[in-house]
């Protein structure tokens, strides 16, 4: 199965796909921004402040999704000793970190008009801050350690340990008293959010996903070229 993901085979795809993903991202983002800022209705309680949801929620979802991928890839690469999976994890992390920061900052901006404060040591916000620290440790470890074996072990440990925080973030609103409301969107049961707000949220999530794919493709190619430059030295 891993042969399918061999760098030599997928480099052509990852380098050519970039321009198509960029084009698609710009189109979907433009539609999403139009929907989020102009077409979607204001909330009866929060008025126009609800529009911050269209950047805050997708950013938080993707930050969580990417970290879950990092943990999963780390476990698999730990078991099968596959370096390419570590390279994929390394390429995913920067966009995950940026999405986490976006979720924290836009959350603070949303908190001021709705809760009357920029920041609270609420369970959801604090666990998201902890996730950002795990992302930071993961990225710093790749910069600090030069020994390849060592850095793969350390970053895998960080990702696996950080994954404990994922269910805490997800269920924090149910386990503790929180300023955050319970989940409005449920995959397995009824969603309490109206279609007029759900559609822009879906489009913005698609745009953010495309952006993380674009950054991943660019970063993955950068890492592969680094490896190939080292390979030239060995010829």
């Amino acid at each position: 199965m891993f042969k399918f993901f061999e760098p030599n085979k997928i480099f052509v795809i990852t380098s050519r796909a970039q321009k198509y993903v960029l084009f698609l991202f710009i189109v979907v983002l433009s539609i999403g921004l139009m929907e989020a800022l102009i077409i979607s209705p204001e909330d009866y309680k929060q008025s126009h402040a609800v529009r911050i949801m269209y950047v805050h929620v997708p950013a938080a979802w993707i930050a969580l999704g990417i970290f879950s991928c990092l943990a999963l890839l780390s476990i698999v690469s730990f078991i099968f000793k596959n370096k390419n999976l570590s390279l994929i994890s390394k390429s995913l992390a920067p966009s995950g970190f940026v999405f986490n920061v976006i979720a924290l900052v836009t959350g603070a901006i949303w908190g001021k008009p709705t809760w009357g404060t920029w920041w609270a040591w609420d369970a959801r916000i604090t666990s998201m801050l902890i996730l950002a620290l795990f992302y930071l440790m993961y990225l710093l470890a790749w910069r600090i350690y030069e020994d390849e074996e060592k850095v793969i072990k350390i970053t895998s440990m960080i990702a696996i340990l950080g994954a404990i925080n994922i269910p805490i973030i997800k269920f924090s609103v149910d386990w503790w008293n929180s300023l955050h409301q319970s989940a409005s969107i449920n995959v397995f049961s009824n969603t309490s959010i109206h279609a007029s707000m759900l559609i822009p949220l879906g489009i913005m999530t698609a745009a953010f996903t495309l952006f993380s794919i674009l950054i991943f493709l660019m970063k993955y190619n950068t890492e592969l070229i680094k490896l190939k430059t080292k390979g030239l030295n060995r010829l």
Partner: protein
Amino acid sequence: MINELISMNGYGSYVWSAFTFTLISFASLYCVTKLQLAKEQSRFASKFGTLNVDKARVARSQNINKEILLNTSNI
């Protein structure tokens, strides 16, 4: 209409600052990543230029190296 879009019932400063921060973050991450990619491509190309004819032929036999050089010429 435009004034309403900007002020958003007094919430405009919050909404616009959240969207602006997001878009600036996207642009910054894209530029930094693009710059790193271009730097690595040109480093690869200059290294490739120092190889002798035989080594260059061996390196060129790998599809991935050909693709990197092809992309470097497009920068």
